[in-house]
Symmetry: C2
Subunit: 377 residues, 2 copies
């Protein structure tokens, strides 16, 4: 692929660790942020990995993300907590929130921690998997800036509102991480760049009508003229539009409502994003022998994978399998980063006074048509 | 409507209460069963109300549903329990399981109770609403007989696997109750009767290809030849098939996996259905002031309802609104029951030695083309 540069996991990890330390995060915090971003790239969720760095860069530089935020626990019981992130980095407060949920669930059997007044936290699945890696069932969700239009509406009132669930199994866990919209904004942007028509049932324009012109949808969204992405299930109740919209609402309840924070439609209204998250942990021990429960799920997942395939389909996946394969491939063959993204990483490195060539190679300095736009402020 | 007879709520309630007592349930149990069935009819979910009676009748008569089952708590902690329903009536054990979850959540903040070895429990939403009626957040789910084909498969490995969530709000609660399949089998049957082609993305035939011929899909399913209903999101990953399939899996985890019961693909294998359920309750008090949380959600639901509509759409619904309107209409104007269903109710009444005319009117005895088929056994 001509438009990609390939880096090893270690190279990108070192770059991110050092960059976020230079932003003022301590070593542990920087490590968490880069772990979350790199898990996305390793899992093949390109939109949430290095490609996001430019947004974090901008929001930290503009003070929308406060590097020195001290999150505050507003309310707490043995099974729950509400945290005010104080506009801190989403990954940092979310990691702490999930750790708190894990600690509580290990004592009580289950726990929910909600977070308000936060920022983009990366992939939801990262936090669900934190619990799963300790033999627990993890759930995580977040609201986002508004992009999902409710069934029969024409203005975005919910976010993409992903929900992730991870549950221990062999040979790999059940790992389900999905936006409650039918697709994400990243998909619209890809189709726009390729000048391809959107699928029916993905998006609507500012009148509320189905729209396959990606440029129109994106410009309507940007102009706050209405329009947006449809819920999982598309535009009609016949295809289940109200169901995806319902799941989007569940995400709002477990993030914004139970934290007393901003719902998606109101994010950004207080100068920083105000995004909210929810984290839940369930200890399988609360239901008997965790090994038996794990074996039961493993055997079911196996039965599904081995069940007869549709004609022309070589395999049936269970959730999380593709990510396991993607990770193995990238750890072996490296992570391909789009040159536009490399240019953004380079600009950030220059802003931070890092030696670009030693981190990203000399080729990062000479990306054709993507010369550095960085100006010292 | 010519093909319907209209009954008052009280008439149907009396009929069901007495019929289920005649089957051998005690007064309280019969009341629970008829409450669950009638909530479906009141909410306009015809497929799960009186129309289901024929199935319960058959399964009780054949001993698949054990009237005198004594459910057993197999495992219990302050936040959880696992119950073996001992092949009892789904509604009876589910009501007890949700009561147990409510009782625990009121003490601890949250609780999950799972049930194995049960039977069809009616609408999932009934149990979620039990918690909501007490100011709590309720969740309920069940697996079913196999009908959902996993993405890229051709054999049903999951059920319709509805998940319901109810959360207190004014003027009516958020009440979301949805199959994780794109449609239910009932919808296919309706289209078959009307000889209408199914929508694309609803079902596949035994080869795993998309199929719009309802008769073909239904006969394939009945012949266990493969084929079935697609997950919410349809047949392709582009429209989110893997997402509905993921939600179906979440239902299996919270019903069959956490109870050690049968997954949907194996239901029916032990002589009775073996269906599993999951119930969860969260006390908003675990997150602060329940009134503030309720007001926050109410105001968000209001904002969504009042947001601009798509051209040609008169209104935006929030989840549970349609049910509230349907119930008000039916309490006032009566419940319309399809004459075929009335015939089934009559047959059951005769089997039970009830005076049909006094319960269902003389017209129930003279339904054209639907003469009583009941033979004393």
């Amino acid at each position: 692929m001509d438009n990609y540069l390939t880096y090893s996991y270690e190279q990108l990890k070192k770059f991110c660790d050092d960059a976020f330390e230079k932003f003022g995060f301590n070593k542990e915090e920087a490590g968490i942020i880069s772990d979350v971003l790199l898990m996305a790239d390793l899992y093949g969720i390109e939109s949430h990995g290095m490609q996001r760095i430019v947004v974090y860069h901008m929001n930290i530089a503009k003070g929308r993300i406060k590097v020195d935020a001290k999150p505050e626990v507003l309310f707490e019981t043995p099974v729950s907590a509400v945290i005010d992130a104080k506009a801190g980095m989403g990954q940092v407060v979310s990691h702490r929130a999930m750790e708190k949920a894990i600690e509580k669930a290990k004592k009580t059997g289950m726990a929910i921690v909600t977070v308000k007044n936060s920022n983009h936290f990366g992939i939801a699945g990262y936090y669900a998997k934190m619990a799963c890696d300790q033999g627990l069932i993890g759930l995580s969700t977040t609201n986002t800036n508004p992009i999902m239009v409710p069934t029969f509406g024409r203005v975005a009132m919910l976010g993409t509102n992903p929900i992730a669930i991870a549950c221990p199994a062999e040979p790999y866990p059940f790992f389900f991480d999905a936006a409650t919209t039918v697709v994400t904004r990243g998909k619209l942007e890809v189709y726009n760049k390729l000048d391809k028509p959107l699928h029916e049932g993905w998006a609507i324009n500012s009148t509320g009508a189905g729209e396959t012109d990606a440029a129109r949808v994106l410009s309507d969204i940007q102009a706050h003229e209405g329009g947006g992405i449809l819920p999982l299930g598309g535009i009609e109740e016949a295809s289940g539009s109200h169901k995806g919209y319902g799941w989007g609402m569940v995400s709002e309840i477990f993030s914004a409502i139970l934290s007393g924070g901003l719902t998606s439609d109101k994010t950004g209204s207080n100068g920083h994003s105000g995004i909210c998250h929810g984290f839940m942990v369930i200890d399988p021990k609360a239901f008997g022998d965790p090994e038996a429960i794990k074996a039961h799920l493993s055997s079911y997942l196996d039965d599904i994978r081995n069940s007869p395939k549709a004609e022309g389909q070589p395999r049936i996946y269970t959730h999380g399998e593709k990510e396991v394969f993607a990770m193995a491939d990238r750890m072996k063959n490296g992570i391909q980063v789009n040159v536009n993204t490399v240019a953004e990483m380079r600009d950030m490195a220059q802003y931070l006074g890092m030696d670009v060539a030693s981190y990203l190679g000399a080729e990062a300095l000479t990306i054709k048509g993507k010369e550095s736009t960085y100006k010292k402020q």
